[in-house]
């Protein structure tokens, strides 16, 4: 438990992308047996610092020492040899390989020059049992939820003997009990004298588990603090570089007063998709912000996907503005004025190699079709307008979107949909892996959109977020809709009860 000597020091690290300084003169120190939070807003340089440390990116100047010995990591493999292993925010595993293969990829146990499958499965099973995860290690990774996949990634990093463990947003796709499980693992590792770098946006979690905090802002070091000496408000202020406008300022949007005469935008009757979500009814009116709440895998995202046509419904019918909608592909939904921001940004949201401009105009262009190409001027105008409105930070509009930080990428996807001027927006985890400031902005945006008369479905793992923004709450359990709460009924307690299976009226 006692925090030991310095095992990792980074001195005056600088790095720039395409002329934009991502890190300038950043220092970072990690001691043995401590959990050290690395905090900052999107684009503050957290991810870059981690990438530099793990050899995924080269730094331009500065020095990294492990246990006093200067090292250079030219690749993540080299970093691993030097005792640094990482679990990234986006899961970097092979979905088509088995869990055990993923765990031992690159260091498979061998016998007579061939892979020793028996030992591998046995060791994999032990490794997961040690973490209290009960899964079949022989089946392929894509059979499992994001949460489990994340746990596998963590298990892999934990299993590789290391001195420094980096966890980059590991909790963003885990539910509370899974987070607890992860924390207990982290504490165990800490006892063994590992240094853990914990990158997260969840302030609560930082105060729960961390010993020290290093704050970055705009690629510069703000400071290193002991958790006990830095009140939460101070932390937020340091991250944002200004006085913190409390999230509480966002008033829950009350559509209740005009609820009766608001026109119904979307009406689903018995809509369902076998194996994904059981038939459900849902009404969404103008100005509604509807939250969908439930545990991971309860069918939250599936419900949204069925409405959008990302998964084709096989029962029921969908009406939009009182007209029957026959959605066979997402394009039909886009044409009718529905927007869908998917849960998995990297896989289903951004088109990584395309520029910010192309990513933003893509949905509008898809709606217009192949032959009516938006003019170059028009495209640039749209892009500039939304980069301005949503405060998207990029070196310029032609920069590949994959170079942007996670939060800015998410804003690009949002901009893409706002540009189509939809009547109905489905936002699945729009705030995942995003810093507080941007979360705040997105929540405001949602409330404002509703005020303009748009209908919104907002899905989030953070109930507090939905409590602030939603006027109705749909509760999901085991792939079916089990309840609906509106206005004053929406309290954390009621939601929990409904999820747990009490009397959700």
């Amino acid at each position: 438990m006692k925090i030991g000597g310095e095992i990792l020091t980074m001195h005056h690290i600088s790095k720039s992308f395409l002329g934009v300084k991502a890190l300038s003169n950043v220092d970072f120190t990690l001691r043995a047996g401590e959990i050290h939070a690395l905090m900052g807003e999107n684009g503050a340089g957290k991810s870059t610092l981690i990438k530099v440390l793990t050899g995924a990116e080269e730094f331009e100047s500065g020095e990294i020492r492990i246990a006093g010995k200067p090292i250079i990591n030219r690749s993540p493999q080299e970093a691993q040899l030097n005792g640094i292993s990482t679990v990234y925010q986006e899961i970097n595993l092979c979905p088509n390989l088995s869990v055990a293969e993923n765990l031992f990829l690159g260091r498979q146990p061998q016998k007579h020059g061939a892979i020793d499958w028996k030992t591998m499965y046995k060791k994999a099973k032990e490794a997961f049992e040690a973490l209290d995860i009960n899964i079949d290690v022989t089946s392929t990774l894509d059979n499992y939820s994001l949460a489990i996949q994340q746990m596998v990634a963590i298990a892999r990093a934990v299993d590789i003997s290391s001195r420094v463990l980096i966890l980059d947003e590991p909790t963003s796709s885990l539910d509370d009990s899974e987070v607890e499980k992860l924390f207990s693992i982290m504490r165990k590792l800490k006892e063994c004298g590992l240094g853990i770098i914990f990158v997260t946006h969840f302030i609560e979690q930082v105060y729960k588990i961390c010993d020290r905090i290093t704050v970055l802002r705009n690629g510069e070091l703000v400071g290193e603090y002991e958790v006990g000496n830095l009140p939460r408000v101070q932390l937020v202020a340091r991250m944002m570089g200004k006085d913190f406008e409390g999230l509480a300022e966002i008033k829950r949007h009350e559509a209740g007063t005009e609820e009766d005469n608001a026109a119904t935008v979307i009406e689903a009757r018995g809509l369902g998709c076998t194996g994904k979500v059981k038939p459900f009814d849902l009404n969404v009116s103008k100005g509604d912000v509807i939250g969908i709440s439930g545990l991971l895998g309860s069918g939250r995202s599936e419900l949204a996907r069925v409405i959008y046509g990302a998964d084709k419904p096989d029962t029921g019918e969908l009406k939009m503005n009182d007209k029957k909608l026959d959605i066979r592909a997402p394009l039909d939904a886009v044409r009718s004025g529905i927007a869908f921001l998917p849960e998995n940004r990297k896989e289903e949201g951004v088109i990584g190699d395309l520029s910010v401009r192309e990513n933003i105009v893509l949905a509008l262009q898809a709606r217009k079709g192949i032959f009516r190409l938006l003019g170059k001027k028009e495209q640039e105008e749209f892009t500039d307008r939304y980069m301005d409105i949503l405060k998207i930070k990029a070196s310029d509009r032609e920069a590949p979107v994959k170079r942007l930080s996670g939060g800015n990428q998410q804003k690009v996807v949002l901009a893409r949909w706002l540009l189509t001027n939809p009547d109905f927006l489905i936002l699945d985890e729009p705030t995942r892996g995003i810093d507080i400031g941007t979360k705040n902005e997105i929540q405001r945006l949602i409330v404002n959109l509703a005020k303009e008369g748009k209908a919104v479905i907002f899905i989030s793992s953070e109930i507090e977020e939905m409590l602030r923004t939603c006027n109705r709450m749909v509760v999901m359990r085991d792939s079916s809709k089990v309840g609906e709460l509106s206005n004053n009924e929406i309290t954390q307690e009621n939601i929990m009860k409904a999820i747990a299976g009490g009397n959700a009226s």
């Binding site: 100047s61 886009v334 949201g349 088109i351 190699d353 898809a366 709606r367």
Partner: protein
């Protein structure tokens, strides 16, 4: 000083920089080895010389490379049936015209029908790849083998000759025109493709589908249709190249028309600086790639390398070209440069 630095960096980073350098290198070798290489004369009223030969001979490959570029971009896979499809198209063409003293059917049908045959082949490939989700190489392997079989079936396994002289216009020269006809065809194909990409959103859609098909689908693109289209287009291009090839020799030899040309077409795409895993692409890169390959072949012939040994020398040069364009040399270049400019960098200190 600094300004010119930025400018030179801009040129070096241009996607067409390395493909052009490679082409220039090949040409410079020629200048040294064969001084007459760049001489262009007029014989019998037509242009004549190595350079003309390169442009003429590369036309078919250029057309195929254009089609292949889109296939690679949209699906991250390659169409290995283009050679067989060109043979098939050639066979259809000759079968339409017959081997008599005059054409059996109007000439225009002998152009349209092979192109339609190409379209059907492409639809078959495209259907397998985009709707049945067969891996591109496996899907096109079917026509790679079967295509020539069908061509043999059409020609009855004979080498057939078309007698009227006009038939050779497409593959050689039109009367009183000093420039080879294939050059016009290739230019036409490039122009049409380029204009289509420039004035429709197809360019963005193809790249988008190639980079992230899932996200493209969710944004409302018909990913499957787009991939399907590129395969159809590629096969039509292959059929066009087949027509030129048949006209060149005024005959169809189903065993040899477009033999191994699929590999050159893929290579042209790669030499053009395009990633074979799909996504971003440069049409002109592939065109330069195709010309480079033909320039290489012509160069080696000019240096009196025999046809049998040709592949070996070609392979060596191709290795050099591809290695030059891989990311590593670029990194070395920057490392060496930064090493010179800042004395000993921090990295070297260790």
């Amino acid at each position: 000083m600094k300004k010119s630095n930025i400018k030179s960096k801009h040129i070096i980073n241009h996607p067409l920089f390395l493909p052009l350098v490679c082409l220039l290198l090949v040409l410079i070798v020629n200048l040294i080895q064969t001084p007459s290489f760049f001489k262009i004369t007029i014989q019998n009223g037509v242009l004549y010389g190595f350079i003309i030969d390169i442009i003429n001979r590369s036309s078919g490959l250029i057309i195929m490379a254009v089609g292949m570029t889109l296939v690679v971009a949209s699906s991250g896979g390659t169409d290995i049936s283009v050679g067989a499809v060109s043979a098939l198209a050639g066979a259809v063409c000759v079968a339409v015209l017959g081997t008599g003293e005059s054409y059996r059917m109007p000439y225009i049908i002998s152009l349209l029908l092979p192109l339609i045959a190409g379209m059907v082949c492409g639809a078959f490939n495209g259907f397998l790849v985009s709707y049945m989700r067969v891996q591109p190489m496996v899907a096109t392997l079917i026509l790679f083998t079967a295509g020539r079989g069908i061509a043999q079936l059409i020609t009855g396994s004979f080498i057939l000759y078309v007698k009227p002289v006009q038939f050779q216009y497409l593959g050689s020269f039109l009367p009183n025109v000093p420039i080879p006809t294939p050059c016009f065809v290739a230019t036409f194909v490039i122009l049409i493709t380029w204009l289509t990409l420039k004035y429709t959103s197809l360019n963005m859609f193809i790249q988008s589908v190639g980079i992230n098909p899932k996200a493209s689908h969710l944004v409302g693109l018909n990913s499957k249709m787009i991939t399907f289209f590129t395969y159809v287009f590629c096969s039509v291009c292959a059929a066009g190249a087949g027509l030129i090839s048949v006209s060149r020799t005024a005959s169809i030899d189903a065993n040899n028309v477009g033999l191994n040309v699929e590999l050159d077409a893929i290579l042209a795409v790669a030499i053009g600086g395009n990633s074979l895993s799909g996504g971003k692409f440069s049409l002109f890169g592939s065109v330069i790639g195709a010309i480079t390959i033909q320039a290489l072949t012509t160069t080696l012939y000019a240096m009196h390398v025999s046809a049998d040994q040709l592949p070996l020398y070609k392979a060596i040069v191709v290795i050099i070209i591809v290695a030059l364009q891989s990311p590593e040399p670029k990194r070395w270049y920057y490392m060496i440069k930064s090493g010179i400019s800042s004395g000993r960098s921090a990295r070297e200190a260790n």
